[in-house]
Structures are given as structure tokens and as C-alpha cells.
Amino acid sequence: MGKAGGDSAALINEQGLRLDGRRIDELRPIRIEVGILRNADGSAYIQFGKNKIMAAVYGPKEVHPKHSALPDKSVLRCRYHMSPFSTEERKNPAPSRREIEISKVIREALEPALMLEDYPRTAIDVFVEVLQSDGGSRCAGISAASVALADAGINMRDLVSACAAGKVAGQIVMDVDDTEDKEGQADLPIAIMPMSSQVTLLQLDGQLNDEEFHKAFNFALDGCRRVYQLQREALIGKYFGNNGGNSDGGL
């Protein structure tokens, strides 16, 4: 709060650079690793700016309680959770209303890509744990979860890639970080299935006029496509590369 002295003009300087030195159409640095957790059927780690997020997939597996099973497809369950030490102030570990809503929209962002009909009467669990948050954690979480699902071998029509755009100091920018989110005027996170250009998540928080909306939407789409390339590289590196995806202590 009030880090930039509440002066939103300082969020973008005269050279058109943002607080962290990015241009308006630039993503934060991103790193994705595949298969970082031993017990999970599939897992991924994403570092997205200062976001540090792990995603794990368990399943398809037996559903408990049994009556919640569906006869024709798998039940997808998602849990987005923030570690108590992930935020500036310690976060109570019990799920908040915000985390419950984000869990729902993440589930609905992933579901269109998943061939749940291949796994009737089972459940697929997706756990997204935010170890450190930095704005845009839902998008980073979706991107990591999609890679973890591919790592688990769940049949998918496409990957899912996510990125936000927003309005900061009167300008449309790609990939809003924590400070920009708190002090900016709008945040538009989206997720897409990149090969088919289907939108699977869209939220808008703030005011945009028609023109601004279209610009922001295109920025977010562009961001998603860049994230997609990194998701591809991570999966290819793990499965077809020489490095076998080692992740020793690299948080």
C-alpha cells in the first residue's frame, strides 16, 4: 500500500518504462519446470516474476465420496491455496473467499481442454500452491497446472495458457504485477487454449472503455501465446531434451 506514494503516474516513467523496468508490452521473467514432485502423478513449478507456484495432479482415481462420481466423465477438482508465508502479511492458512473463487475459475479454465470423458467414475485433483505471490498468481497457476496435467498424461485437446493485461497510470499494459494490480485501474486475466484460440478464463476487475478493452484483450492474448511457448519448451526439455528436468533446490 502506498509504495509509490499513491502517485499512479510514477507507475510508468517518461521513458515509458514501468516500476520494474519493463516496457508496457513486456512479460515478467518466467521459468517453468516439469515433474518436480515425486509423489504426484504430474507436477510443474512456475516462477512468474516473483510468483513461485507449484502445481500437482493426482488422478484419475477413485472418487470419495462415491456418490459424487459421474457415470460418463471424470470429476475435476481444483484447489488454489496460498502458503501463509507467500504474502507481505502472514496469510491465515484456512481458505479465504478469494481462494475458493479462484479455485473455481481455475477449474473452469482447465476443464475445456481436458478429455474428462475418457475417465468416467473417477476424479482428477489439481492442486495449485502459491509459495510466493506477486500479482497474476491465478494466471501463473493455470499455466503451471496445465503443464502438470500434460505431465500426468491426462488426455487433453490442448494446453491452457494464461496471462493478464491491465490499465496502469492510464495506459494499457501486459502482465500486471502486484504493485500495478493494487494501484492500477483495471486487471483483465484471461486463459486460452492456444492452438484453437478458445478463451477459457476471463475476469475483469476495473474500468476500461471499449477501445481500452480491445487493446487489453489483445495484450493478454499475446501474453498467453508467449507463455505457451515457454510451456512447450519446458515440456519438450523434460520429455525430449537431454537435461531430464533436474530441479535441485532451484526455487
Binding site: 475417465y119 468416467p120 498424461g153 491426462i154 494446453l159 525430449f240
Partner: protein
């Protein structure tokens, strides 16, 4: 890249790409069918998992072989499972599946084991709760895994005396005898059990 590929159309270059990720286009829907690991989506045959494309030109089918042990695999007809008997009646039992084709499975799926009463009439079940058995998947209709023991590899792999809990040895194919209390009991044994049982003696 080989020379003949350079001249080929854009589409067949896609076919030649060996390593694919979910969503990658493999062929147009009009040209190929989607086999295992592929799906028809948006007018194309696309990969549905990470793996290696294996086009069957004769059958016009695109298949993607998974790049690692297929963790998401559910039991299919013809698979062998190893499981623990949860409950058992004379001709039917519920089995918790612990392995599929000898690959451990943590999915905790259950199967329905039907035993035809063809060996002889019996009053008690030839398997007991707690037994570890191998069974064959004979049907997966409605995602219910129907299991059968009608195969020499199938049957009880591990059991204890249902009377005293002691170690047992095989008495032929259909019964065991407790090494401690001497009680004999019905058990539909697998060949593996019998072999092991003899080597112990």
C-alpha cells in the same frame, strides 16, 4: 531433415514431426482417424498427450505413444490386475485394484469379481477378504471393472488361514492348509501361489 521432406506439403511435414504435445495438429480430419493419444478437435486430428507420433498409413490412423509410463491409464479389457479382496460372497467379490499389468496403481479403483461356480458346488467363497489376487479384466462397461479368475495366472497370490491367521500351504489348486492349526480351506489359487507354496515346503 531428409530431402524428400523438404518438397512435401506443409501437412505432411506436420506428420513427420515425431515429438508432440497436447493440441499439436497431426493431420486434417478428412485424411486420418484419431487413434490412441489423439483426438479430433477443430477439424483436425490433434495429439492428446505428450509423446511420439506413430502414423499408420495403411489404416489412416494417427496414434501418439506416451513418452513415459502411462500413469493416467485405467484398466482395459484384457489387462491383468493385482488387488486386495474387500468383501466376498460365494460367486462375487469386491476387489481394490493395487496394480494394473504389474505397474503399481494408487488410483484406489475397485473391481467387481464374478466367479462362475463351475469347479464344484461350494458354500463358502474361494477367496477371502484380505487376500491378494490376480484377476483379468473382462469388461469395462459403464466404467465398472468386471474381473474374472478364469486364467491359470489368476487367483490368490497371498492369503493367510481364515481361522487362525497363520501361514498356509497349497493343497492342489483349490484349497490351502494352515501350517499352524492344520485347518483346510477353499482357495482358488494362482499358479504363482502354488509354485511359491511348494518351494517353501
Amino acid at each position: 531433415m531428409a530431402k524428400q521432406e523438404e518438397n512435401s506439403s506443409n501437412d505432411s511435414q506436420k506428420i513427420q514431426r515425431r515429438h508432440v504435445l497436447p493440441g499439436d495438429c497431426l493431420a486434417a480430419q478428412e485424411e486420418f482417424e484419431a487413434g490412441a493419444g489423439a483426438v479430433i478437435y477443430g477439424g483436425n486430428v490433434v495429439a492428446s498427450r505428450v509423446g511420439e507420433v506413430s502414423p499408420d498409413m495403411a489404416a489412416r490412423t494417427m496414434t501418439v505413444k506416451p513418452s513415459r509410463q502411462d500413469l493416467a491409464k485405467l484398466p482395459e479389457t484384457g489387462d491383468y490386475i493385482v488387488g486386495t479382496v474387500q468383501s466376498a460372497a460365494s460367486s462375487i467379490a469386491q476387489v481394490k485394484i493395487e496394480a494394473i499389468n504389474d505397474i503399481p496403481s494408487s488410483k484406489e479403483l475397485s473391481g467387481m469379481l464374478s466367479m462362475r461356480d463351475d469347479r464344484r458346488r461350494r458354500s463358502s467363497s474361494p477367496i477371502k477378504p484380505g487376500d491378494v489376487i490376480r484377476a483379468k479384466v473382462i469388461s469395462t462397461t459403464n466404467a465398472i471393472y468386471h474381473l474374472s479368475l478364469d486364467d491359470s495366472h489368476c487367483g490368490v497370490l497371498y492369503t493367510v488361514c481364515s481361522f487362525c491367521g497363520g501361514r498356509v500351504v497349497a493343497l492342489g489348486h483349490g484349497a490351502v492348509k494352515c501350517a499352524e492349526c492344520g485347518m483346510a480351506d477353499d482357495r482358488m489359487l494362482s499358479e504363482d501361489f502354488i509354485q511359491y507354496s511348494r518351494s517353501v515346503r
